[in-house]
Symmetry: C2
Subunit: 349 residues, 2 copies
């Protein structure tokens, strides 16, 4: 039995509304033949605002991968420690109780990883296992949870600190003028989360019962990076929107095998917000009451798609709604591969 404790989610100081973002793109690419289509599509994302690590004016002139990597490391060091200290406290633990630290981040690259910084800054034990995950994109948060659950299953003192950190704005490529690049530039947001998975049930939270990984064959082109002199360039194939029909039966089976009930009978859902359409598809293919995915819609609206941080932001909202002990929930996220990671469990208040 492992428990996802109350996460701590931090947002960087700059904020941009979707109206401001559209205005920004129109100023940059006003003569682009598909700008009015892009504008309509961005309005359809249901993202109202996003947080950014730098002001949009600074991001609109690409300062180079060298400079962006310096900004990434500076902000990552500053924000991750603060987030982590609070998360360890939320779990009623001390830094010396942590046995593994996982960092997920696909929007910058550091070696040593931020795991080393966290061990130093928080004074975690010298025997702490480090697991930095950079290449699982939006599914990395749920993948970290599932790997932490595996590690916790080995020993009831194997508590895991998970820090997820995404500065998607540092992957904003103002010179990319394909339609999907405009949408991405208005969809992804910046955020940092920290969360402890306790290797027992001695704190309130989401008790994980079982987990599952899923890979959709021949879908590597759905979500990918081109790695260039200017950094990571995100590309998306709209075929990804049809992938939920393939993963929904896997979610149903996991739910059925664990609790002998259909997903629609669950009390709550902690879903990644790939975007509005992905959430619509989940509601549709799992036959869910629409309000059950409201926390994911609120996260999307207020912060954009914050990649590997999303599941923790939705979990945070779940804590605020104070679910009843014993209520059944399903956590799931999706990302490049195409890959899904999911976990089912029960709430313990």
């Amino acid at each position: 039995m492992s428990t996802l404790c109350q996460p701590n989610v931090l947002f960087p100081q700059y904020k941009i509304t979707q109206e401001q973002m559209i205005e920004h793109l129109e100023n940059l690419h006003g003569d682009h033949p598909r700008m009015s289509l892009a504008k309509r599509m961005i309005q359809n994302t249901e993202v109202n605002s996003r947080h950014l690590v730098l002001p949009i004016d600074e991001l609109s002139v690409h300062t180079g991968f060298t400079h962006r990597s310096i900004v990434y490391e500076r902000e990552a060091r500053a924000m991750s420690s603060a987030a982590a200290r609070q998360a360890i406290s939320n779990a009623n633990l001390k830094p010396s109780d942590i046995r593994m630290v996982i960092v997920t981040s696909c929007t910058g690259f550091m070696m040593p990883s931020l795991t080393a910084h966290l061990i130093n800054d928080l004074e975690l034990p010298a025997s702490t296992v480090q697991l930095p995950i950079a290449q699982l994109g939006c599914v990395a948060g749920a993948a970290a949870i599932n790997r932490a659950h595996d590690f916790a299953s080995l020993n009831n003192r194997n508590h895991v600190l998970i820090v997820s950190l995404e500065f998607s704005s540092l992957c904003y490529q103002p010179d990319d003028t394909k339609l999907h690049a405009f949408i991405s530039a208005a969809l992804f947001g910046d955020a940092v989360s920290a969360c402890v998975l306790r290797a027992n049930d001695e704190a309130p939270g989401f008790n994980i019962k079982s987990t599952k990984s899923f890979f959709l064959p021949k879908s590597e082109h759905f979500i990918r990076y081109d790695v260039k002199d200017t950094g990571f360039h995100f590309t998306l194939d709209k075929a990804v929107m049809n992938s939920i029909k393939d993963v929904a039966p896997v979610m149903e089976k996991l739910n059925q095998d664990t609790y002998s009930q259909q997903c629609a009978e669950n009390d709550f859902f902690i879903f990644h917000t790939g975007g509005r359409k992905i959430l619509d598809e989940l509601v549709n293919k799992l036959s869910l009451p629409a309000d059950k995915v409201a926390p994911s819609r609120h996260s999307l609206s207020e912060a954009g798609n914050i990649a590997s941080v999303v599941v923790f932001d939705v979990l945070r909202r779940r804590f605020e709604s104070k679910p009843k002990t014993g209520s059944v929930g399903l956590l799931a996220a999706f990302g490049p591969g195409f890959t899904a990671e999911m976990a089912v469990g029960q709430w313990a208040a």
Copy 2:
């Protein structure tokens, strides 16, 4: 009980001797004030030859991170599948038996990770757990082994495929003229390995009994990347040479706790080859007979420091020397952080 089965190690087609590399550097930087010191230091590395994914003449003009990333992905796809098929066969398994795929590589970046390519190309199960590790550098191979051992400890059918792939030559920065950059350019080599960790003892190999992670506080500057428009720039602080004295007692304790004997009493060692001095320090601080680290010295001499692939190349040599069943061994690697991962176990013929 888990078993590291016979690995498969592949080298790219181009080869350069150390004499050719020195000649190359002298041609590029003949007027550098420290070139004769660099030459002596390179001769002291005891690296005789290395394999490269491109001819040295092509590498000597930096074609940009965009182009190098394309080469990285092309070669990674081509070489990893071939290596993996043979490794699965070595373990007397079929692709459908694999439950987790780990890819370690710090010398290029892909998203989706090569884990996705391997699931597609080898037709691994859709439920395969993916664990790409990019930020643990030279320690990643041993870290992968230890995480695979953890996963295998959960279920005796949790067989893990580990593919390690390093094209260090694609991080060669011909314009870096610091002394340590010259040494790095002549130290690191290219290689690909694949190895299966079986979740039981039904194949010959290295039975892992227990594992340990170690982090040396305040040592993030020992081994690090600067991430620039031109890709990853490796930097090394010579203070790293003094780190073995701190990790040796941890290795001794793991060995003592598991087999009630000192490391010097072990039958064999599977050591990462950070370089000649690191091996000298291991021999010295663990009071080992010098010939016990010969397979690591041979790997260094014939292939250079092949980063996360090293432990698998040394394991391959161990298989060739046909150890006796029951002989006790210690596997250890070191990398950025400063981080060490180690495992002790016994040979099963």
